[in-house]
């Protein structure tokens, strides 16, 4: 990966520059980094002058996610591409890039009341999260997924803790820039300060494989770590996604017909040869009579072939969604890029796979491990 990277698509009148800053696990905690992102977002709302919103509808949004062995703080600048504006003295894109850098160097308000008010709000918002599936993703430290937060550690954060993390981010030497949007006459990443070290494509290390429990879960989830033949581009990526979708549909049908249990399924690629498939029991707890099916060796004996046609239809729908939503499109491009896939000129230009290829993909799949998130225990 390079420090400056360009992902093109002509389907939208918008562009985004994502500044990705890497921090090691030792240099901060998920709570400090997630709350720093929250504080920085609030600083953008409160800015009194030189607001990015007046430069081609600019928005700067911070986020904190897992990445390999550590974390990323991302700052995303998005602006509209249009001929409808004329700026006589100011280049709005150059100005946007300046404000993107400034947003981090300016930091956040250290006023005690503001800090504690925002912390209280952030704790309240995180406490209400009750999805067992989300907890599996964040509990495992899945790359590019939101950080898993310990409410007690979050509640006890001090200004000093978060300032330390801010300084770590300001002085970070590993990171990169991603551009997503149409090809532009002038370099959209021009003048951005380079990082000393580039980011590597994502790897996945299980951070925590013990069962997750919370008294606040509204449902329960069991998920599987599945390996398959390495994917190299977006066409391969969608082939595996379609194969996983077929397997999901097969499991849904078995749970419904044999065990009268309604489930919701989710799957996503962790690396170019590993994925997670999650089954969430919407009615509450995982029924005990279903446990035999959920053993890893039983899972692989499920035949997904009859469900391939329906899975292809679902993938067709996903493709429509990607073309109609800029954020979905960028998220897909970001994932593909972070996995190290070979990308075509137009990032959205991929084919929904043929049936024969999907059937071949099943043969390369192996279930490696399973994880559960259940009701009960203390609040995390």
């Amino acid at each position: 990966m390079n420090s400056q990277n360009y992902l093109y698509s002509d389907s939208f009148s918008e562009m985004t520059i994502k500044r990705r800053i890497y921090l090691t696990k030792e240099s901060t905690s998920p709570e400090r980094l997630a709350f720093l992102a929250y504080l920085l977002n609030d600083s953008q709302v409160k800015k009194n002058k030189d607001r990015v919103s007046s430069y081609l509808g600019g928005k700067i949004v911070f986020d904190a996610v897992y990445y390999g062995d550590g974390y990323l703080l991302t700052a995303s600048l998005s602006q509209v591409i249009t001929k409808a504006f004329s700026y006589l003295f100011v280049d709005p894109f150059k100005k946007g890039r300046e404000l993107l850098i400034k947003a981090l160097s300016d930091g956040f308000s250290q006023d005690k009341n503001v800090f504690s008010g925002l912390l209280n709000e952030f704790v309240m918002k995180n406490r209400k999260k009750n999805s067992s599936y989300d907890s599996i993703r964040s509990g495992l430290g899945v790359p590019l997924f939101s950080l898993s937060l310990d409410i007690k550690a979050l509640s006890s954060l001090s200004v000093f803790d978060v300032l330390n993390t801010l300084r770590e981010c300001q002085e970070a030497t590993t990171g990169d820039y991603l551009y997503f949007g149409p090809a532009m006459k002038n370099d959209p990443l021009l003048g951005l300060p380079p990082f000393k070290n580039d980011l590597s494509p994502i790897s996945f290390h299980v951070l925590n494989d013990t069962p997750i429990s919370s008294p606040y879960f509204s449902d329960e989830t069991v998920s599987y770590l599945i390996s398959f033949g390495k994917v190299t581009d977006h066409n391969d990526f969608f082939m595996i996604e379609t194969a996983l979708e077929s397997l999901s549909l097969a499991l849904k049908s078995i749970c419904d017909k044999q065990f009268h249990s309604q489930i919701e399924t989710n799957h996503f690629l962790l690396t170019t040869d590993k994925a997670i498939l999650a089954l969430t029991f919407k009615t509450g707890r995982i029924p005990s009579n279903i446990m035999s099916l959920l053993k890893t060796n039983a899972l692989i004996s499920v035949d997904p072939t009859p469900y391939v046609d329906d899975a292809i239809k679902i993938m067709n729908v996903r493709k429509i969604e990607v073309f109609s939503d800029y954020d979905d499109a960028f998220s897909l491009a970001h994932r593909g890029y972070s996995l190290g896939l070979k990308l075509s000129y137009d990032i959205l230009d991929y084919e929904v796979p043929k049936k024969e290829k999907i059937q071949a993909a099943f043969k390369s799949m192996t279930v490696l491990q399973s994880y559960t998130a259940k009701k009960g225990g203390d609040e995390r």
Partner: protein
């Protein structure tokens, strides 16, 4: 078709009213995605009290929309590689189709559905059991319903537009079919399409669709007199199984007719920007809310018939007294919280953000549909908002500070 290029957005659209009263709108975009909207000029509120001698119970519009865009219809649309969605608002009902292929094939599926009325009493009962029972568990439904009940004396807006399972017991397929004959007809309908096509291709595609004719029905209009000068209750509480308490706060605006007399089209321009400027993007407001151990969960401006309200919902950790006091003080003089620079920055942002929305056929048509409820093209509103003056906005806020308010707390 008549071409209009409003608001200097470089986003022209074409419009025509056909002989049967059907309106058609094409918004051409050079995109791979094509979207279509069937817009019905009748939402969940208010509708005729009786149609062909049958009482129209509350919730009939919502259930009819769900029967047209049933799971079966969604499946049929999937076969045609199309995403089908539908939505009932207070003022309109819409059916939305998004595809990367030919949009007229899925449009035909939905139009045939409307023409054939293929649902039965058993389908309606199944829907009520499957979806309405589950939806009653959402705390926001009782929270907003509780607030609307506090604010309005008699207007049916008090009920919202989505019935509970208990309310839905009175709704039968026969009433829904009469409702469809009354409102799902050419003169109450607009078909909007956005994608890579010319007006002649659009009209040719439409010519293959079955458009429902204008059938004469005997209707009894719903009549009521609401008092807009005050609210029924300024504050009340309810109980519901929730992990965090919710406070809903609302401002009851005067009768729409009166507002329109005072402001004209300007009213709809102000509606576009008032919520972020006063609430969701206002640092003073957000900080004040935080100081009461609460946070803003959502804000909306609802319009239906002659009724308009601003509704804010909050999650709160402690008793609502501090939050209610803050909200009362904040609304005493709203002009105090208005900053000229912020106003002008937000207006600039709104204009640019509209270009963002207009670049996606799906989002653009939703914007057009929402604006259509006030009989204004979306691009015209965008153009006018960019010229909105600070003093006009300030005058509106001055009056908004004087309108009656109410709050509803769920513990």
């Amino acid at each position: 078709m008549i071409r209009s290029d409003l608001g200097h957005l470089n986003c022209p659209f074409y419009e025509e009213k056909l002989d049967n009263g059907l309106r058609i709108l094409l918004y051409p975009r050079k995109t791979k995605e094509t979207s279509a909207v069937i817009y019905i000029n009748q939402g969940g509120y208010p509708h005729d009290e009786e149609i062909n001698s049958s009482k129209m119970p509350f919730g009939v519009a919502y259930l009819l929309e769900k029967m047209v865009m049933s799971d079966k219809t969604v499946d049929q649309l999937l076969q045609a590689s199309t995403i089908g969605r539908s939505h009932t608002d207070f003022s309109y009902t819409l059916f939305q189709l998004d595809t990367l292929g030919d949009v007229f094939a899925p449009l035909k599926i939905v139009m045939d559905k409307i023409a054939n009325i293929d649902f039965t009493e058993a389908d309606v009962d199944e829907f009520k059991r499957q979806y309405l029972v589950a939806k009653d568990e959402n705390p926001f439904t009782p929270s907003i319903k509780g607030l609307l009940n506090n604010m309005y004396f008699i207007s049916p807006i008090r009920n919202g537009y989505q019935p509970t399972y208990e309310e839905s017991v009175l709704i039968h397929a026969s009433a829904m079919k009469k409702f469809l004959l009354r409102y799902y007809i050419a003169k109450e309908m607009t078909i909007m399409v956005s994608g890579d096509m010319t007006p002649s291709q659009f009209k040719e595609g439409l010519s293959k669709l079955r458009i429902p004719g204008n059938i004469t029905t005997y209707n009894k209009e719903l009549k009521f007199e609401e008092d807009y000068s005050k609210v029924k209750d300024t504050y009340s509480t309810g109980r519901f199984e929730v992990r965090e308490s919710t406070l809903s706060f609302g401002i009851k605006l005067p009768k729409r007719e009166k507002l329109y007399e005072n402001y004209g089209q300007l009213l709809f321009d102000i509606y576009e920007v008032v919520l972020p400027i006063l609430y969701s993007e206002n640092p003073e407001f957000l900080t004040g809310v935080r100081s009461t151990d609460s946070y803003l969960d959502g804000c909306s401006l609802i319009q239906g018939g002659e009724d308009t309200s601003i509704i804010l919902t909050f999650k709160t950790k402690s008793s609502p007294n501090a939050l209610v006091t803050f909200l009362t003080d904040y609304h005493a003089d709203l002009t105090k919280h208005l900053n000229r620079d912020r106003f002008s920055d937000y207006v600039k942002f709104y204009y640019a953000d509209s270009i963002r929305l207009l670049s996606s056929p799906k989002k653009a048509l939703l914007c057009f549909a929402k604006a259509y409820a006030n009989s204004v093209p979306y691009t015209a509103i965008v153009g006018q908002v960019s010229k909105l003056s600070f003093s006009n906005f300030k005058t509106f806020l001055k009056e908004l500070s004087t309108y009656p308010r109410s709050a509803f707390f769920i513990k």
